[in-house]
């Protein structure tokens, strides 16, 4: 595992993407085939299931270090990552074990069936034979996320540099269905597996937030404008009588939406379309909170299907009868899309409406009105644009409605995880409810590092608890928070749920007397 550990070190010691790519290329040039495949798998979230419960690992570590549990937990909350906490706490190794990455992974896969006692012997032996960084990697191989500053894109670029194959194709190749034991490295890069894979999605084309004046976009006639919807971006694939639904997180979510599958199955032709999964009732789009009730369910009950019916608003067509359409213009793709929906009719799938407008200044009013029917704002797409891979500036813009804002007071602070584990970065906020305070939101972004440092110092001085990850603080610090939407909620004590709350700014000019009341917050729902 030395070479893999060295690669991690090389990646961690630089901020420059090029240096990271260099390090990856070097690894791909020198490591055994199977190790390379596992590296790609691990960095893209394809990991074997956890063979050892994290609680057991914690227990064994406490046994080895003779630390009391509370001190272990304090350490954990300072580090923010279990695998790293273990690696840091364990005594120095007495032996050296050197095995290639894929052997470690294979052993861990086999470990799953073993008894806890056998697992313990194996893990303790490994801990005692690996130095700190290798030990961290070993713990990460067992479970937990592999966040080490290499994005999928960086990995793809490294593989493209190595092989000379088009990065789009590589992206396509590595996100699909393959396992390190079912393919060779060369076959993976050459995409030997993807022709056979009917379910293969395309990388989504993503938009940047509009940051300039509309007039800078040029001629109105060059742009297609649609509403932006707040659901789950999805890709529906119908190939050879089979239907697959992918979410933007590259997750296969077909089972969660049987009504979409039923509707699509009746369509003629094979195709891949891009759109938004939304909760839709009586032709009206419901808020995201409603859609959330449908997500990640093992069983979708009849009752739920009736309570929260789902629809699909179609934005784009990427493939029709095996022909890749992504290099065609938006305008052409739209024509094809309309044609497809002329030949096939359904209530559940609806074409995204194109907004008719003559000049730019009409759009602002439309955008501001969007929230009234649960749209997030507008999407502007250049009619000549191809369907890009990922986020590309210039052709697609999202132009959201201005967020709602309220003033709130901080009542709890919690340390962040990973990068932010040394600071209090996650805050819980409250508004007034007569003489009391009631929690309305948790938020953890929007402040500068400097502000976070200042707040962390304040929390350290003003916290009521001394142990554990959460600190109750005096209600003193006032913040303006922004959010995309608001709805009544039975699950929340305050009776309301905010969508995407984040800190807009720290209101040092305000005190707890100036914050919003629950009544003024609820009044936002009615508007």
């Amino acid at each position: 595992m030395k070479d893999f550990s060295n690669l991690i070190s090389a990646i961690e010691i630089t901020n420059k993407t090029n240096a990271k790519i260099e390090a990856l290329v070097h690894y791909f040039n020198t490591a055994p085939d199977k190790d390379k495949l596992w590296l790609i798998a691990l960095f893209t979230g394809k990991r074997p299931s956890r063979p050892v419960k994290s609680n057991l690992m914690k227990e064994w570590c406490m046994e080895l270090t003779k630390l009391p549990e509370w001190l272990f937990l304090e350490s954990y909350s300072a580090v923010g990552d279990l695998g790293e906490t273990l690696a840091l706490l364990l005594p120095n190794p007495k032996n050296t074990i050197e095995k290639p990455l894929h052997i470690w992974v294979d052993e861990l896969i086999n470990l799953k069936q073993k008894t806890d006692e056998e697992k313990k012997v194996y893990v303790l032996q490994a801990w005692n034979g690996l130095e700190a960084q290798e030990r961290l990697i070993f713990n990460k191989l067992i479970g937990g996320s592999f966040r080490i500053g290499v994005s999928k894109k960086t990995l793809v670029n490294a593989l493209a540099k190595l092989s000379g194959i088009d990065p789009n194709q590589i992206m396509h190749s590595i996100i699909g269905n393959w396992t390190p034991n079912s393919i060779t490295f060369d076959d993976l890069l050459n995409g030997e597996h993807i022709n056979y894979d009917k379910s293969k999605p395309y990388p989504f084309c993503l938009a940047y937030a509009l940051e300039k004046d509309l007039t800078d976009l040029g001629n109105e006639n060059d742009w297609q404008v649609e509403y932006k919807w707040d659901g789950i971006r999805g890709q529906i694939i119908k190939r050879k009588e089979e239907v697959f639904i992918w979410s933007r997180g590259e997750e296969l979510v077909t089972q969660q939406f049987p009504e979409l599958v039923a509707a699509i199955s009746k369509f003629h032709n094979d195709f891949v379309i891009d759109g938004e999964i939304l909760a839709v009732k009586d032709s009206a789009v419901l808020i995201f909170n409603d859609l959330q009730k449908r997500l990640n369910r093992k069983n979708v009950t009849k009752k739920l299907l009736e309570e929260v019916p789902v629809g699909f608003y179609v934005y784009d067509i990427l493939e029709l009868n095996d022909e890749d359409f992504r290099a065609q213009s938006m305008e052409n793709r739209r024509v094809k899309l309309e044609q497809l929906f002329k030949e096939n009719t359904t209530d559940i799938l609806k074409l995204s409406e194109m907004i008719d407008f003559k000049n730019w200044n009409e759009l602002d009013a439309l955008r501001n009105d969007a929230r009234s029917f649960n749209s997030e704002g507008l999407m502007l797409k250049r009619k000549t644009s191809i369907y890009h891979v990922g986020r590309k500036k210039g052709d697609w813009w999202k132009w959201k409605v201005d967020p709602l804002t309220i003033d709130v007071v901080m009542i709890y602070a919690q340390k962040g995880s990973g990068r932010r584990s040394s600071k209090y970065t996650d805050y819980t906020f409250a508004v007034k409810n007569q003489d009391y305070l009631v929690t309305v939101a948790k938020a953890y972004s929007g402040l500068t590092d400097k502000e976070i440092t200042e707040i962390s110092k304040w929390v350290n001085k003003n916290a009521i608890e001394k142990f554990g990850p959460v600190r109750t603080v005096k209600p003193v610090l006032v913040f303006e928070i922004a959010f995309e939407g608001i709805a009544y909620s039975k699950r929340h004590k305050s009776g309301v749920a905010l969508r995407f709350p984040r800190i807009k700014r720290w209101r040092k000019d305000k005190t707890v007397k100036d914050i919003d009341t629950i009544e003024s917050v609820k009044a936002l729902i009615e508007n």
Binding site: N15, T65, L67, E74, S75, G80, L88, G416, G418, K450
Partner: protein, 339 residues
């Protein structure tokens, strides 16, 4: 016996009528070391260890009333015997031992038990009561040896040179900067910020050997600095000066860099766990070596460390102080920045 009491102005020695590292101006201040949260401005009289004298004068003013003692060289103040012992924290850093009628209290100041190449190594002192810091009071903190750090820092510089990059270290101007200089001595030319340079000059003038470096001014010539080594105070992260350095690779040197999340926090390239404070084992060894009946735990993880000491049978109490943590100091003291 009550030899010291903890007041708003700081730790006060009752019979001696003086304060230890007070945070508000007093008549007589006994100072553990030169960091701004320990040696504050405005006291009428200062007593410190010999090697700290030049630093205090440099930071607090040439005309302060100050006297100094060597390590192990006692002085009687109002019947209290005051004596400095090496704390291994920075140049001139001392633990302050107070002895009165056979009763001994030791105030650790900031300390590090592992030897480095530049400060006088830590020496444990037996006492009845020990006042200890606890900056890195969690068992996750375990430092590498100075030799290992030397290897790590030098490899990084060499790697940068191969990639045609300039190595920029960020470290506090008193302590960390001199330690880095020593760790990378003889590798290549080193440029330092004026705050570090002036301090180095003051320390060198008092007869302590500091590796050579050149001061970097805002109008420096890029070709002179290219591929070399630069040391700057942490506050300069994101400054114009650092942006002007050609092809810079940046590294923070601080004990907090022991945790991966912290290394990623500041958006620098690398983080090296070079700490001037004791790690967990260091704190425990130091406390045990004093054989103290009672331990007071100040700045850092005082809640955690004192709870743990009590659990292993050492009576410990938390003590709230105004001492900070220069390891994460975002701002250098203004005094030295203007000098």
């Amino acid at each position: 016996m009550k030899l010291v009491k903890f007041t708003k102005k700081g730790i006060y020695c009752i019979p001696g009528k003086f304060y230890l590292d007070p945070w508000y101006p007093v008549k007589y201040a006994v100072i553990s070391h030169g960091h701004a949260d320990h040696a504050r401005w405005g006291n009428q009289h200062y007593l410190c260890q010999n090697d700290s004298k030049a630093i205090l004068k440099h930071r607090l003013g040439k005309d302060i009333s100050i006297e100094s003692l060597g390590y192990n060289q006692p002085k009687n103040i109002n019947g209290v015997q005051v004596c400095f012992f090496p704390a291994g924290h920075v140049i001139g850093s001392a633990q302050i031992k107070l002895e009165y009628k056979g009763f001994v209290v030791v105030f650790s100041g900031d300390y590090k038990t592992q030897p480095d190449f530049i400060s006088t190594p830590f020496e444990p002192v037996k006492c009845h009561e020990f006042i200890t810091e606890s900056t890195f009071g969690l068992p996750i903190y375990k430092w590498k040896t100075e030799q290992e750090l030397q290897q790590e820092l030098q490899n990084w510089v060499l790697q940068n040179q191969q990639n045609n990059r300039t190595s920029v270290f960020l470290g506090y101007s008193l302590g960390k900067a001199q330690r880095i200089l020593k760790l990378i001595e003889h590798v290549d030319d080193v440029f330092v910020h004026s705050a570090i340079h002036n301090l180095n000059t003051a320390i060198s003038n008092s007869g302590i050997d500091i590796p050579k470096s050149t001061v970097i001014t805002s109008d420096f010539k890029k070709e002179n600095v290219q591929r070399k080594i630069v040391i700057l105070p942490p506050a300069l992260l994101g400054s114009k000066l650092i942006k002007k350095i050609p092809n810079a690779a940046t590294a923070i040197c601080s004990g907090w860099m022991h945790i991966r999340g912290n290394r990623r926090w500041k958006g620098v390239d690398a983080g090296f766990a070079v700490s001037d404070h004791a790690d967990w084992e260091g704190l425990l060894q130091a406390v045990k070596a004093t054989e103290a009946e009672k331990v007071y735990v100040t700045h850092g993880s005082q809640a955690v460390f004192s709870k743990y000491l009590n659990e292993i049978g050492i009576e410990a109490h938390e003590l709230k102080t105004e001492f900070g943590d220069e390891e994460i100091a975002d701002k250098e003291p203004q005094k030295s920045a203007t000098l």
